[in-house]
């Protein structure tokens, strides 16, 4: 059969949606407990929000869905939101900048073109942004929040990789590259092409091999490693100190919190707007999210001198990896054997009572039979009086009952003896 689904799009079927809602619910619950407020930004944004230097790389911009709206005769293009941070920053600038600090989170879909159409071009993200916080503790808070979300979802062996956009930018500056060249190389690193760009730079200037190798090839897992690196890199330029001090402070705090990580400057994939710490979360070799500090984005939007950082988790990846799922309420299929108006009324009233008590009460329509239901409640009319037959499909037991109160009694006993009766 010819597929009617658009290439590169994906449907979330009921089973997918159950997992999606579970991820979303855990993320929302964690964020609310950490004092973050929920935000939902517009799906459509002006393209120019994403085109300035310091927003998205040209590589990413070539994959956004942009078009002229029905009133776009001026040539002003709009775009399907390709990223969550820039719209959140816009909302902050337009509505919250006066209040200084804002802690925001969102669950939103992002749209980016993917050539093969095998991957979905619509990706869901759970993101959190901390606007107005400049301290290393703000970055650490975001990392700990993300780790808590993933731990509560039961993700196994979560890896944390750290890099630092400020350090990369400072090094490129100190190497004496022209500003345009610095931007181009930084963009390539953010687009995940660190290996290629290093090889290109070393081929063009062999003297760069030592400092580049020092920074990008070595791996560490402690603030001590960064202190060693600081000493070695100070030989190249003392002006890397500020970024390095920031990096060390964050690493030290993470270590003190008992959080393990790998320092890997080559892992610094992300957005052009990043200016400080960069972090990536992995399960096995799959990236499940990441984030970083972006202190220049709010000033670029004329929102004042506001520092900010944030992260986003890839819901699509996490849905595949999460082991825990939300417990479902016991499910009852109600079969009405009395087709009269009165019979239907009793059926709906009984279902409403069950729902009030926390059960899923599903009135049978048409010929639908029990699928995920543990219980079947048949209602018939005997001489003007409703009679109930409650069947437990797991044990094949059935009980003839006279009233909804008796039904609730049996369901409660079964529920109490088995934690997850469905």
């Amino acid at each position: 059969m010819e597929t009617l689904r658009c290439k590169g799009s994906r449907d979330l079927l009921p089973a997918d949606m159950a997992r999606f809602r579970h991820v979303e619910q855990v993320f929302r619950s964690c964020c609310l407990q950490w004092g973050y407020d929920e935000l939902r930004t517009s799906t459509l944004e002006y393209l120019h929000l994403f085109t300035s230097t310091g927003t998205l790389t040209p590589g990413m911009l070539s994959k956004v869905y942009s078009f002229l709206d029905w009133n776009g005769w001026s040539g002003e293009r709009v775009v399907l939101r390709p990223d969550g941070t820039i719209p959140a920053a816009r909302v902050y600038v337009e509505n919250m900048a006066q209040s200084g600090m804002a802690k925001l989170f969102y669950v939103e879909n992002m749209f980016r073109f993917e050539e093969t159409g095998k991957e979905s071009r619509e990706r869901w993200q759970c993101g959190a942004e901390l606007l107005g916080g400049a301290d290393p503790s703000a970055d650490v808070e975001l990392i700990l929040l993300a780790l808590e979300v993933m731990a509560r979802l039961g993700l196994p062996d979560i890896g944390l990789q750290l890099s630092h956009a400020g350090l990369i930018r400072a090094l490129l500056r100190e190497l004496g590259l022209a500003p345009a060249e610095q931007s181009r190389i930084f963009d390539q690193i953010m687009d995940g092409q660190t290996g290629e760009v290093m090889a290109e730079m070393i081929a063009a200037s062999p003297l760069l091999r030592e400092p580049l190798s020092m920074l990008f090839d070595l791996r560490g897992n402690s603030p001590g490693f960064l202190r060693n690196q600081r000493l070695a890199l100070a030989q190249i330029s003392p002006r890397l100190e500020t970024s390095m001090d920031n990096f060390i402070a964050i690493a030290q705090l993470l270590t003190d919190m008992g959080c393990s990580y790998q320092i890997n400057m080559s892992s610094g994939k992300g957005f052009e707007y990043y200016t400080g710490i960069l972090f990536q979360f992995q399960v096995g070799d799959r990236s499940v999210g990441g984030g970083g500090r972006y202190d220049d984005l709010i000033p670029l939007m004329s929102g004042g001198d506001i520092c900010a950082s944030g992260f986003a988790l890839d819901v699509d990846q996490i849905m595949r990896l999460a082991t825990d799922s939300a417990p479902a309420a016991p499910r009852v299929l109600i079969r009405n054997l009395d087709e009269t108006i009165r019979g239907q009324q009793i059926s709906f009233e009984t279902a409403a009572l069950l729902r009030q008590r926390g059960y899923i009460a599903d009135c049978r329509q048409g010929n639908a039979e029990a699928v995920a239901h543990r219980w079947i409640l048949s209602i018939r009319n005997e001489g003007g009086k409703a009679r109930f037959l409650l069947t437990d499909r797991t044990g094949g037991k059935a009980a003839e009952l006279d009233s909804p109160t008796e039904i609730l009694g049996i369901l409660q006993i079964a529920n109490a003896t088995k934690a997850s009766p469905s």
Binding site: H48, T51, S62, N71, G72, S74, S183
Partner: protein, 453 residues
């Protein structure tokens, strides 16, 4: 080149009225003539194995669709032209650095919107608007655009009022191939002949971003006057009848050899510019012209795309009458729009391919008539050539229907009738009583002439 390669081709010259030339020595070689701009698309979608067109149009397609199934086979030793970004010599954006540092929105008029957008993104322009035009892009700066991306040849010197900021592409004619055809079909016998004709000469198409230095020229145009009325007049085949119409109304144009697209006019406080009628509604919508003489077809095309546009028709001039019609091949068993609906699949049409220069009118026609599923093929001219191989339906204008019949096509529906009209922007006067009076005066003059017709 084709002749040198030993391919004697009949029906491929300026006077030819056929779109299907024949090659006597290679009867197996099927050829078709298209507007150059359509060729990369036709080759990319696989309707043709090989194509010859300007490299600029190939790059224009690839700028938007880099995954297009095209192989750029060989540059050809003719058709050299440069794609240049130009600005008005008197403007503030005299260098690339000034353009890149612009804080406001940069407006670029061009026939190459995809290349212009890609260029703007890579230049990291903070904010920009691409104004797609059908032609005469060089006439837009400085009033209607900050810069124009135009195609130039060495033998056509740049208008002295313009300053070249940079050349973004050096283009020549190019031989291109459909990638799967290139991978699987043996086209070597034909290619050998072409290669022999081309010889060893290869033209390098190089991308350069070296900014040009500012010239000494400064425009002598009058200063901006908020009460001046800008009137746009059409070029092309509409130009002569419109001039005659204006003369009947007592309006005379005074040729301006320095800037031919900006003739003088015998009306105080009125300035004119000659541009493509296709581009006028968009320009009026943006307030760059107060009045424009265009066709009702192009006004309708604009309003189909932008329904809340402030452009409105103020006067039907009654000249240049055409009908906008739906056309199919005479071979097809369709005689009405109704026939295009349900029997699609019965006649083997998985998808109805609708070609048109009026892409938004065609889109609305298909939607309103529930022609599903359908696909639109924007064309840039020579549209009759698309039927029947490369499209199933054509939305086209016609005066007499003769050209359509000559190409073995038939009209199955008339969408509407169109004539030249005067359009304006609702908010043109912008609070100026003098300007409002001037606009009213022009409308009155043209109105009398229209009634006489």
């Amino acid at each position: 080149m084709l002749r040198q390669s030993g391919l004697e081709i009949d029906g491929y010259d300026e006077q030819s009225r056929s779109y299907r030339p024949q090659c006597g020595s290679r009867p197996d070689l099927a050829m078709k003539i298209f507007n150059e701009r359509d060729i990369p698309i036709q080759v990319a979608v696989g309707n043709y194995d090989l194509g010859i067109c300007g490299q600029d149009w190939v790059e224009e397609l690839l700028a938007r669709y880099p995954g297009s199934a095209l192989v750029k086979v060989k540059p050809l030793p003719y058709g050299n032209r440069d794609l240049c970004l130009v600005a008005d010599a008197s403007s503030q954006t005299g260098t690339m650095q000034e353009l890149a540092a612009s804080r406001g929105s940069v407006r670029i008029a061009t026939e190459y919107p995809n290349l212009a957008e890609s260029f703007s993104l890579n230049l990291r322009l903070r904010r920009f608007s691409i104004i797609p035009v059908w032609g005469a892009a060089e006439a837009y700066p400085p009033e209607s655009a900050d810069a124009a991306l135009i195609s130039r040849t060495d033998d056509a010197p740049l208008d002295p009022s313009l300053l070249s900021l940079t050349t973004i592409l050096r283009s020549s004619a190019f031989l291109i191939a459909h990638r799967p055809s290139w991978e699987s079909r043996d086209m070597a016998p034909l290619l050998e002949r072409l290669y022999a004709a081309i010889g060893v000469l290869q033209l390098a198409a190089q991308v350069s971003t070296t900014p040009a230095t500012a010239g000494a020229y400064r425009s002598t145009r009058p200063q901006s006057d908020p009460t001046a009325v800008w009137l746009a007049l059409p070029d092309g085949h509409q130009q002569a009848p419109v001039l005659e119409f204006l003369e009947q109304a007592g309006i005379k144009l005074i040729p301006n050899p320095q800037e031919p697209r900006r003739p003088g006019i015998n009306l105080d406080g009125v300035r004119t510019k000659i541009v493509r009628p296709q581009d006028m509604p968009l320009q009026v919508a943006n307030g760059y012209f107060d009045l424009a003489i265009t066709g009702e077809d192009w006004l309708s095309e604009h309003l189909c795309r932008f329904p809340s546009s402030p452009v409105k028709k103020v006067l039907r001039l009654g000249l240049g009458k055409v009908r906008i019609v739906a056309v199919v091949s005479k071979r097809l068993p369709f005689d009405s729009t109704q026939d295009l609906r349900s029997p699609l699949r019965r006649h083997g049409f998985a998808t109805l391919r609708i070609a048109s220069e009026y892409v938004n009118i065609a889109d609305r026609f298909a939607r309103d008539n529930h022609l599903t599923p359908y696909r639109l093929l924007p064309t840039w001219g020579a549209s009759e050539a698309f039927l029947p191989e490369d499209a199933d339906v054509l939305i086209e204008n016609t005066q007499t229907g003769r050209t359509i019949a000559q190409h073995n096509l038939k009209i199955i529906d008339t969408l509407f009738e169109s004539s030249a009209c005067l359009v304006s922007n609702e908010s043109s006067a912008n609070g100026s009583e003098l300007k409002r009076k001037r606009i009213g005066g022009i409308i009155d003059l043209l109105s009398m002439s229209a009634h006489q017709n």
